[in-house]
């Protein structure tokens, strides 16, 4: 598919990530997705939290708001409420999404606001030199917690699109992110994509094996399984807990029976931020207190 945009149209600053970081893959895939979907840079907004991956808006030529730790989701939600005509992508690490921002991850999907949230999930806090994140295994660098389970939580929180991909398979990532954006564009609401990646500096090895080898061996594409039905939430829950020998990727769940918040409340064709900027006559309100 060719559009008037090429990947180069989305180029901006050179990233400051470590060489070999999975964030490069995510950045390149995003540019490719925007270009091939023909999304004009000025009609896309990327909202991020804090961490290595959250610097991404500085490296891509679309609207970008690099905010504070854990708050990308509610900021993206407010932004989408005010400008539902734009494509709004929220992006944050596993600490952002499942730790400090877990309250939002459990609630923003319930609103079914039409945003795509991408979780850069590498099990470690890189920027602060390698502390365990919420998805780190128990025992990893003194971690006393069991790892957070993004997929079942997203399902329980009411996300209408729940998927997983990983940085070792850029083509798959491109497919999943495109499907997530389409889900939002079609007015079905909130889309969540869990992106498994590694931290080349602090977490490059999974159970003694190199990251790529470990997951390549176990990769299991749900969309290649003819018996897998992503509209069935019980299947999604079951698959969400599959671990060990199998590493399921793809669309776990897709619900097209719900309307996005911005559709349900009629905001799409009348964005609140584009309504007249003027004083309102409030005498009708004041009269009530006579």
């Amino acid at each position: 598919m060719s559009t008037k945009y090429t990947i180069r149209d989305y180029d901006y600053k050179k990233p400051t990530w470590c060489p070999g970081c999975g964030d490069f893959t995510i950045l390149n895939v995003l540019k490719k997705v925007f270009a091939t979907m023909g999304l004009p840079p000025h009609e896309v907004v990327v909202v991020s939290g804090i961490g290595c991956g959250s610097k991404l808006p500085h490296y891509i030529r679309v609207n970008g708001f690099h905010t504070i730790h854990g708050r990308a989701l509610p900021i993206a939600m407010g932004l989408k409420i005010a400008r539902p005509d734009l494509t709004v992508i929220s992006i944050g690490g596993d600490g952002d999404t499942f730790g400090i921002g877990a309250g939002h991850f459990a609630n923003v999907p319930r609103s079914n606001i039409g945003i795509v949230h991408l979780a850069q999930n590498n099990g470690v806090f890189g920027l602060t030199t390698g502390q365990p994140s919420p998805t780190a295994p128990k025992g990893f660098r003194g971690n006393i917690y069991r790892p957070f389970q993004p997929i079942p939580v997203a399902l329980s929180a009411g996300a209408t699109f729940v998927a997983r991909t990983w940085t070792g398979n850029p083509n798959h990532m491109e497919y999943v992110i495109k499907e997530a954006i389409k889900h939002v564009q079609e007015g079905y609401g909130f889309a969540f994509v869990d992106i498994i990646q590694y931290c080349i500096t602090y977490n490059p090895v999974i159970f003694g094996e190199p990251f790529i080898t470990y997951y390549k061996k176990r990769e299991y594409d749900l969309q290649k399984d003819p018996n897998y039905d992503p509209s069935d939430i019980t299947m999604a829950y079951k698959m969400a807990y599959v671990d060990g020998d199998k590493f399921p990727i793809g669309i776990f769940y897709r619900d097209t029976s719900q309307k996005a918040l911005e559709v349900e409340f009629g905001l799409v064709n009348d964005p609140p931020a584009l309504r007249p900027r003027e004083a309102r006559d409030v005498r009708e309100i004041l009269d009530k207190y006579k």
């Binding site: 905010t67 932004l79 005010a82 609630n107 923003v108 900027r277 309102r280 309100i285 004041l286």
Partner: protein, 616 residues
């Protein structure tokens, strides 16, 4: 108490457990009084519970404006025993000690366990006890049908209408208006009010009535709380997105906005936490919609980090903080002015902001509306901080002339500038360095141009920077917005009124206050003038930027400077000291979780004057 000092106007009170409908009666009575042309001040004390406990609502009114409550009661409608004699102090000490010779008590003795001696004692004090079988009247009116004993409040209301000599038709029309959506309910309430009225007329014909004639001419007034006016002010200013998590005493703003959201096209959301609230509003404002939030101190604490983001990323955001006593949950339904330093210093580092301190609902209307102007013109957070006494008390005030508020838009980047950016192959500078510190805004979605923004320090384009020189440039640029704003405050002093002076400007005694103490201080001034004491009231309405010069000139020449604050640690007193280098001579503080009553402040002030030997 015999010999209790009394002030002008009439003080009526309804007391009872939560759930007995005391608010309804107090608010209906207040509305009827205002319709008759009276000026009303009505305030409630209640506990943090849904049913039970002890709540009471005071309604004080007069033919002239009044702005405070008194501790004595002329007419007491006691719906249960604790309202009269207390419950041993668990929830209530009772209100009999607030009655004086000539007071009237409306009470249902056959539904009560209060000992006969109590009534004998009341009568010996010259207090009139009107025994009204409110419960029986409700049962009989139901005539075997469903009985809802809550509505005995309406019977007591009818008795009050008689005792106060109010226009019964007018009161009934106010009741009908309140229940307009349910005609059967309206008529049932009117009937019970009527039964109470008739019972009183038949049984207490020769008894005492406390009647005040309405003023001959009626000014066009409103009766409303600060929260009502906060909602109205926000709508006036073109509000588009509102987020709020419930927290007393700010909660009702959401309800008032909900009533009008469809007509005015406002999107309302109650998300999972105050963290979400402020960030949703920041997202909406970043996108170009006027957005606001409201909370109290605890919720504001959660918003703190995001406020700094709005500061550095220059996002226009309006935050209403309706205070209650802290620390922590403190006294969740009570009164205190304890959050001034919290709102002033919220979040790490320096960022430009404004903190406005309205003193009554009328000021709340204009201050909230102007907060949106200021937020957008200067692209910064604006906090409007008032307290429970303003948030939830009903004040009578002139109908606000909405045209006194003028919508002032942000500075937007011009078409010419956009053209030249595109032609130069450049990008939009979200944080462009300008003389006044204000970088013109651009709408998201502007053809071929994008916006970068961040909570990190940044260059003009919104790219992260760690350069020392760029840091200084941007810090200075942001601070220049405050300098620009300070100039505007000076040039338009009479529009923003950062400081107001009441009374003789050259009076030797200056009473300083902020927020809700305005009302009681104004009423104190009147009493002092009757006593021959010449004093003025200096009301400080901006905490940031602090109106240093105006405060200095207002206090210049005052021989006795007294500050009145409803808090423990004299927050404004410290602020004056640090900004204006002026030391107060005396301070009157109150931190028991209750507002200043007129006699309490009067007594403290007079004894203070005696101490410093200005009088007596």
């Amino acid at each position: 108490m015999v010999g209790m000092r009394r002030f002008r106007g009439i003080s009526w009170m309804i007391g009872g457990a939560a759930g007995l409908g005391i608010n309804t009666v107090a608010e209906l009575l207040s509305k009827a009084l205002v319709r008759e042309g009276f000026y009303v001040f009505a305030n409630i004390e209640y506990e943090s519970l849904i049913r039970g406990g002890h709540s009471y609502y005071r309604v004080r009114y007069d033919t002239r404006p009044l702005n405070s409550h008194v501790d004595y009661v002329d007419v007491l409608l006691a719906l249960d025993d604790p309202s009269l004699v207390g419950d041993g102090g668990e929830h209530s000490d009772g209100h009999v000690h607030e009655l004086h010779e000539g007071s009237v008590v409306i009470f249902d003795r056959e539904s009560s366990r209060v000992e006969d001696e109590v009534f004998e004692e009341l009568e010996s004090r010259g207090i009139y006890v009107y025994d009204v079988p409110m419960t029986r009247i409700v049962r009989e009116a139901a005539a075997g049908g469903k009985v809802n004993l809550v509505v005995r409040n309406m019977v007591g209301f009818g008795v009050s209408t008689y005792v106060l000599g109010l226009d019964k038709d007018l009161v009934e029309s106010v009741i009908r208006e309140r229940f307009a959506k349910k005609e059967a309910v309206a008529e049932a309430n009117v009937k019970l009010h009527d039964l109470g009225y008739r019972y009183a007329m038949e049984n207490f014909r020769d008894g005492r009535r406390i009647i005040l004639d309405p003023p001959p001419t009626k000014e066009e007034t409103l009766i409303a709380t600060g929260n009502h006016m906060a909602a109205a002010g926000a709508v006036r200013a073109g509000l588009r997105v509102w987020a709020q998590y419930p927290m007393t005493p700010a909660s009702r703003i959401y309800r008032y906005l909900e009533e009008v959201k469809d007509k005015y096209g406002i999107f309302l959301v109650q998300p999972e936490s105050e963290l979400a609230v402020i960030n949703i509003a920041i997202g909406a404002a970043f996108a170009g919609a006027r957005a606001g939030v409201a909370t109290s101190g605890g919720g504001f604490a959660l918003m703190t980090e995001a406020l700094g983001l709005a500061g550095i990323a220059e996002v226009p955001i309006v935050v209403i903080v309706a205070s209650r006593p802290g620390p922590s949950t403190g006294l969740p339904t009570r009164q205190e002015q304890g959050d001034l330093r919290q709102v002033l210093h919220a979040s790490q580092g320096y960022y430009p902001k404004a903190v406005i301190l309205p003193g009554d609902p009328y000021e709340v209307f204009f201050d909230v509306a102007n907060a949106f102007n200021i937020a957008w013109k200067y692209q910064m957070p604006v906090i409007v901080n008032y307290d429970k006494h303003i948030a939830e008390s009903f004040y009578t005030f002139p109908y606000p002339d909405q045209d006194m508020y003028v919508y002032e838009d942000a500075k937007w980047v011009s078409e010419d500038e956009l053209k030249s950016i595109r032609e130069a192959g450049d990008n939009y500078k979200r944080f462009k360095v300008t003389e006044d510190g204000i970088s013109p805004l651009m709408d998201l979605g502007t053809e071929d141009l994008v916006i970068w923004s961040t909570g990190n320090e940044h260059n003009e384009y919104g790219d992260i920077t760690e350069r020392a020189d760029e840091r200084v440039v941007q810090m200075d640029k942001r601070y220049r917005k405050i300098e620009t704003f300070k100039r505007e405050l000076e040039e338009r002093f009479n529009y923003y009124m950062p400081v107001k002076v009441y009374g003789e400007p050259d009076a030797e005694i200056a009473i300083v206050g902020w927020g809700s103490t305005k009302g009681v201080i104004l009423d104190l001034l009147e009493l002092l003038s009757e006593d021959g004491v010449n004093a003025k009231f200096v009301q400080i309405r901006f905490a940031y930027p602090f109106p240093t010069e105006a405060v200095k000139s207002a206090l210049e020449g005052a021989k006795l400077k007294v500050i009145v604050e409803n808090n423990f640690d004299g927050l404004m007193e410290g602020l004056i000291r640090e900004n204006a280098l002026i030391e107060m001579d005396q301070s009157i503080r109150k931190y028991d979780g209750r507002p200043f009553s007129l006699e309490y402040l009067y007594d403290r002030f007079i004894s203070l004057l005696k101490e410093v030997r200005v009088v007596g």
